[in-house]
């Protein structure tokens, strides 16, 4: 043994550990998780008592007959508050879930916009987690998640990742998906590819599949003396610079995938309830373009939002007043209300 090394190790471990203190939000999450565990235990105890009483009553009152073939409810999925890495086949995605909900209610998946952060949903999550299980995740290559295997990414590859996460992460067979901005495209593909999983869709200020083409068309041909912004935007569309985003998601490929889905005959989302929330002052967030072009951009944006809602026999567009930016952060009560609506908890 080497006493000097042992002493150094001892001192080092003491010194390193002394710098570690729990983050308040982590402690709060653990306490909340324990409360949910405790609530689950209490519910199970109560259910046992009720079930025992019901059995006795049935034996006494209805001797013999019918309920024998009654199917048992599916086991309640794990509702522990936790942050975990979920293996989706050789790579992992970071998944965080909060809250509890009675069996039979959907899991809410909050999808951030491109470049967005899950924290923008904090208020929505806090509002919903008492009634529903709410999850966020880091898309491939963001947060703690491993990078994707191939590039560019498209709405369909994002959707495939989400489907794998739902399966491997045990999120259940009933999902309410909330998307923000561009991720409406991957959300639409997810709903189209996995209608059996999707109980409801909430699109926050969605970008539709025809927007880029309509915007590029509205810019028109170069004209002498035009404002510099027009030249820049025209170049942006010509060089597809939008697709050089942090997640390397191709806009044209994603838009083509969703256009194929939505332009096919019949409602792409069937009877799945859809709520599109649109910031009423969204036009103010557009670039300072000449009035006519600005109007055409705004119309194209709104037309695609209408289209997304019309792809459900139970779709609606709601203008959120006095908001021009992120609805998740600016209008959380509208978002949680829409989630409850499509989840069948609020009419």
């Amino acid at each position: 043994m080497s006493p000097d090394v042992e002493e150094v190790v001892r001192r080092e471990l003491d010194a390193v550990s002394a710098e570690v203190t729990p983050r308040p939000e982590w402690t709060a999450a653990v306490l909340t998780g324990l409360e949910h565990e405790q609530a689950k235990v209490r519910r199970r105890r109560l259910a046992s008592v009720v079930a025992a009483a019901a059995v006795v009553a049935l034996v006494v009152v209805v001797v013999g007959a019918r309920g024998a073939g009654r199917p048992q409810p599916a086991p309640e999925p794990d509702r522990t508050t936790r942050h975990q890495m979920v293996d989706i086949g050789g790579r992992s995605l970071g998944l965080s879930c909060w809250g509890v909900s009675p069996a039979g209610t959907p899991t809410v998946v909050l999808e951030t916009g491109l470049g967005g952060h899950a924290a923008t949903y904090d208020e929505v999550r806090a509002d919903l987690a008492d009634e529903l299980r709410v999850c966020t995740y880091d898309r491939a290559g963001t947060g703690q998640s491993h990078a994707a295997n191939s590039f560019p990414r498209t709405a369909r590859t994002l959707s495939d990742d989400l489907a794998a996460l739902v399966e491997a992460g045990g999120l259940g067979r009933s999902i309410v998906l909330v998307t923000d901005g561009f991720t409406a495209l991957s959300g639409a593909v997810f709903a189209g590819d996995h209608p059996e999983l999707v109980t409801g869709l909430v699109f926050l200020d969605p970008r539709g599949p025809h927007v880029s083409r309509a915007e590029a068309r509205a810019l028109g041909e170069p004209a002498p003396g035009e404002v510099e912004l027009l030249t820049e935007l025209r170049s942006q569309y010509r060089t597809d610079s939008l697709s050089r985003n942090g997640e390397q998601v191709s806009y044209p490929a994603s838009e083509a995938e969703v256009a194929a889905l939505l332009d096919a005959p019949g409602p792409a989302f069937g009877a799945t309830p859809v709520v599109v929330l649109s910031p009423a002052l969204g036009r103010q967030a557009l670039p300072p373009l000449p009035g006519a072009i600005r109007s055409r951009w705004w119309q194209a944006w709104q037309a695609d939002q209408d289209l997304l809602a019309s792809e459900s026999t139970s779709g609606a567009v709601r203008d959120v007043p006095e908001v021009s930016g992120s609805l998740a952060a600016s209008a959380p009560t509208w978002v949680s209300s829409a989630v409850r609506e499509v989840a069948g908890l609020e009419r």
């Binding site: 080092e12 975990q84 992992s92």
Partner: protein, 193 residues
Amino acid sequence: MCVAGNPLGPFGCSCVESVSSERSAPVDPDAAFAELVAARSTALLRTAFLLAGSRGDAEDLLQEALFATYRSRHRVRDLEALEGYVRTTMVRLLLRWRRRRWTSEIPFGELPDVGAVEGETPSCGEAWPLIQRLPVRQRAVIVLAYYEDLPELRIAELLGCSTGAVKSHRARALAALRRDLVVPEAVGGGELV
């Protein structure tokens, strides 16, 4: 076999089944857990950090251990030893986490094999990165022995191995640390750099 009252230091009883019949007065498990998190999360997180090697993994490890212990609370008869059970669960979870991030950590390569200078004591601050790079079992033995001050017999119980294996892990870990925790000697000169 241990007795109630946490006689084996912070890691409490060796297993949840081996409890004394002379246990303390009944305690509400829910209240005890909330109190444990509120009062002892700093100490628990520090041990988790040393075992796991990073804050994120430490938080995951401790959270998972807390929930696992809570779900097994009907077997935890001595609620005053809850902290020991949680610590024990952390170690066992750590050994099961085969696919966690640290298992895929890639050491940056062999450190230069420079000679140690007799009588020199390495400065604090250099050891932690080296401890982090130890294999999980070696790191666990180092933390349990030098941070938690557990005897080899108890460490062997926690790791599910023999005391001989514990000695071997400790010896290998110390040898690696002794090799790397050195003040480099100038080439050919013997002067300290």
